[in-house]
């Protein structure tokens, strides 16, 4: 998402001294300690995804001031507030257009949207489609827990058929979205899916997607023991982790069409799409500017 624009300088941080390591956690400087404790329930997956994200930006060694996190509303939406970077907690569903404005106004920034499935795909669904269509240079990470957590467990556009939510008490009778398929069809340059037990792979995926020119999308299947778990008798976070472990199969490059989430069926993970044949928004915009102001114009 950034290689279309300004140069990246890698910064290798100084090694922590033993003293520092004893007194603090190596990721402390990425978090706003004064905002802890966080609001998440025990066993919630949002924190795992946050950890994967900050590990990824640590590994990328790009100047931290260039990273911006934008989120919408919901349990996952709170991630922005805990990360010690420039962070924006916007309105419900509108993180992507806010981030789009920010990124195209200043391509130096490396903008990541982290939000939930309801935020990104119900109220914000249209923005997702268009950001992917434009191939705008953003990474969108969706923490998908199949439910609205913050408001207490209502039906989401990702809730599997027949599942119980507080607004589908007799079982969900709506088809859910297959998010990787949607992202692919809309034109995303990079599409992957992981779960909260695949943290190393998720971290690598975030690193890769951050460097990808164009629109990248990563779905992370994540437990919500309080909402989804309780209503659907999925047990605690550990039971969900076991479930993810048993049911997941990694099939890189497989067709997202086959990756729909169905109750009791295998869960297909991996890197589905990684394409370079569609120039990004910023790339096309640069070409247009060259035509308008001549080849020598500097941005």
């Amino acid at each position: 998402m950034i290689s279309d624009t300004p140069e990246i300088t890698r910064i290798t941080p100084a090694m922590e001294t033993t003293q520092e390591l004893l007194e603090s956690h190596p990721l402390d400087r990425f978090l706003r300690g004064d905002r802890m404790p966080h609001i998440w329930c025990p066993g919630c997956g949002a924190g795992n995804v946050m950890a994967a994200y900050i590990n990824a930006i640590k590994n990328l060694e790009i100047e931290l001031n260039r990273h911006v996190v934008v989120s919408g509303i919901g349990c996952t939406g709170r991630i922005a507030g805990y990360i010690n970077l420039d962070s924006y907690h916007t309105t419900h569903g509108r993180a992507i257009p806010f981030a789009t404005g920010m990124k195209v106004a200043n391509p130096d920034l490396i903008v990541t949207v982290i939000s939930g499935d309801g935020d990104l795909f119900a109220i914000g669904g249209n923005h997702f489609l268009h950001a992917a269509r434009r191939n705008v240079n953003l990474l969108v990470i969706c923490v998908n827990n199949y439910i609205y957590g913050m408001t207490g467990g209502q039906l989401a556009p990702t809730t599997p058929l027949d599942n119980i939510t507080t607004t589908s008490p007799f079982g969900n009778y709506e088809h859910p979205f297959n998010l990787p398929y949607l992202a692919m069809a809309s034109g995303a340059a990079y599409v992957a899916r992981w779960t909260t037990i695949h943290l190393r792979r998720l971290t690598k995926s975030i690193e890769k997607a951050t460097m990808k020119p164009g629109f990248s999308f990563i779905e992370v299947l994540s437990p919500c023991p309080t909402g989804y778990g309780k209503l659907n008798k999925k047990g605690d976070a550990l039971d969900v982790a076991r479930f993810f472990q048993e049911k997941s199969v990694i099939k890189h490059g497989s067709n997202p069409f086959d990756a729909g989430v169905r109750e009791g069926k295998e869960i297909i993970l991996g890197e589905f799409i990684n394409r370079d044949d569609r120039p990004s928004f910023l790339e096309y915009q640069r070409r247009m500017e060259e035509r308008v102001v001549g080849k020598n114009a500097n941005k």
Binding site: Y88, H89, T91, P97, A99, T100, G101, N106
Partner: protein, 386 residues
């Protein structure tokens, strides 16, 4: 980078003049969605911005447009959108986000007749109360109304300056008549145009020290605004927040925040409120009008004066905050206010509130679709036999 800003005399429509005003004010980001009768403004920005190093993006709807200009403003660009009718309704939620996060930006609403799809191609002034109260919650907003093509240029510059100075979204209440009317516009050379830029902090505090993005130490109630990427590592949220920008869900933080958000506008009303007097000195009857209607009102004053009636015009350029002081002063000495507006009575209620029974207040109302004829305004004056 080319800096092709125009100067000289031009013949153009209001939408074009508003676009040029934005460019002259330093606007370098436009996010918008086509909607009649504002579309030509977006079209002109799509042509002009790439020529001068700015960014134009056509968003997927007005909700996205409003979100995008907020993001662009935090990226350090002066940003604008333009819309109309249903589009301004869709923008309301993120206008609220702009208010609470104190994000400078300009929203042009080329008013057409409503409600709903209403009269897409015809004039209205029915969004004045919406401009004031359209987003939920308690807040103050700045709204300005140009009455000619020249004023579309001038007022949009003012709007940017207020937005930057007071760190707030500013709404420009144009209307279909001014947007499509062609007139002469004089664009001064760039160095003669007053441009205000937002205050910025002196630099991020040293490692280990906290930064307070919403702390104001100079008594202005307007904290300096860093941009993303400058190293401040700030958290900006639409939740009620403290000076550090952190969410605090309690009554005390809410009280402090909302009071400051409102007071930074209320207490500067004298600076923000712009009105124009026409033959008011000896007037016994005052026509209050804004936007294109102020031109019919001016003719009405001339006709009345010929009949020997002491009629004057108070033209509101700033609609919000309301010209309270001015109306109160006039109410002490005049006997009748006639409020001419293309709606079923919106600003008339504000006038009544300020007049507080000290004079008579009458409404001259058109419901949208056409301007008042001067005679229609005059017919609200009992002494006039038209």
């Amino acid at each position: 980078m080319t800096t092709q800003t125009l100067s000289g005399e031009f013949f153009m429509a209001g939408n074009a003049a508003a676009a040029e005003g934005a460019i002259a004010a330093g606007c370098r980001f436009f996010g918008g969605y086509p909607i009649t009768p504002s579309t030509e403004l977006a079209e002109r920005m799509s042509r002009r911005l790439p020529q001068i190093g700015g960014v134009f993006i056509q968003m997927e709807d007005e909700i996205a447009s409003m979100a995008a200009i907020l993001g662009a403003s935090w990226a350090g660009k002066k940003s604008m959108t333009a819309t109309s009718g249903p589009g301004i309704s869709l923008m309301m939620e993120n206008i609220g986000l702009g208010v609470i996060t104190e994000t400078p930006c300009v929203i042009v609403n080329v008013q057409r007749g409503g409600p709903s799809t209403g009269l897409p191609t015809l004039v209205g002034q029915q969004d004045v109360m919406q401009a004031r109260w359209g987003s939920h919650g308690d807040y103050e907003i700045i709204a300005l109304a140009p009455g000619s093509v020249q004023e579309c240029f001038d007022v949009v510059i003012k709007a940017f300056n207020f937005a930057e100075q007071y760190r707030t979204p500013v709404i420009v209440l144009m209307d279909e008549c001014t947007s499509h009317m062609w007139e002469k516009v004089v664009i001064p050379p760039p160095e003669e145009i007053e441009r205000i830029n937002r205050k910025t902090p002196d630099g991020p505090p040293p490692e280990g020290e906290d930064f307070y993005p919403y702390r104001c130490t100079d008594g202005t109630m307007i904290p300096p605004m860093p941009k993303a990427g400058d190293g401040y590592r700030m958290h900006i949220t639409g939740l009620t927040h403290d000076e550090k920008g952190y969410p605090k869900i309690n009554a005390a933080t809410q009280d402090k925040l909302v009071r400051r958000l409102c007071d930074k506008i209320r207490k500067n009303a004298d600076d923000i409120v712009i009105t124009e007097d026409y033959m008011l000195d000896d007037a016994e009857i005052v026509i209050v009008a804004f936007g294109t209607v102020s031109r019919s009102a001016k003719s009405a004053v001339r006709i009345a004066r010929k009949k020997g009636l002491k009629v004057g015009l108070l033209k509101l350029v700033t609609i919000w905050p309301f010209a309270e002081k001015k109306i109160k002063e006039l109410a002490e000495r005049v006997k009748l206010f006639v409020v001419a507006e293309i709606n079923y009575g919106q600003i008339v209620n504000e006038v009544e509130r300020c007049v507080a029974g000290k004079a008579e207040v009458r409404l001259s109302s058109k419901l949208g679709g056409e301007l008042h004829h001067p005679e229609e305004i005059l017919s609200a004056i009992p002494e006039v036999v038209v």
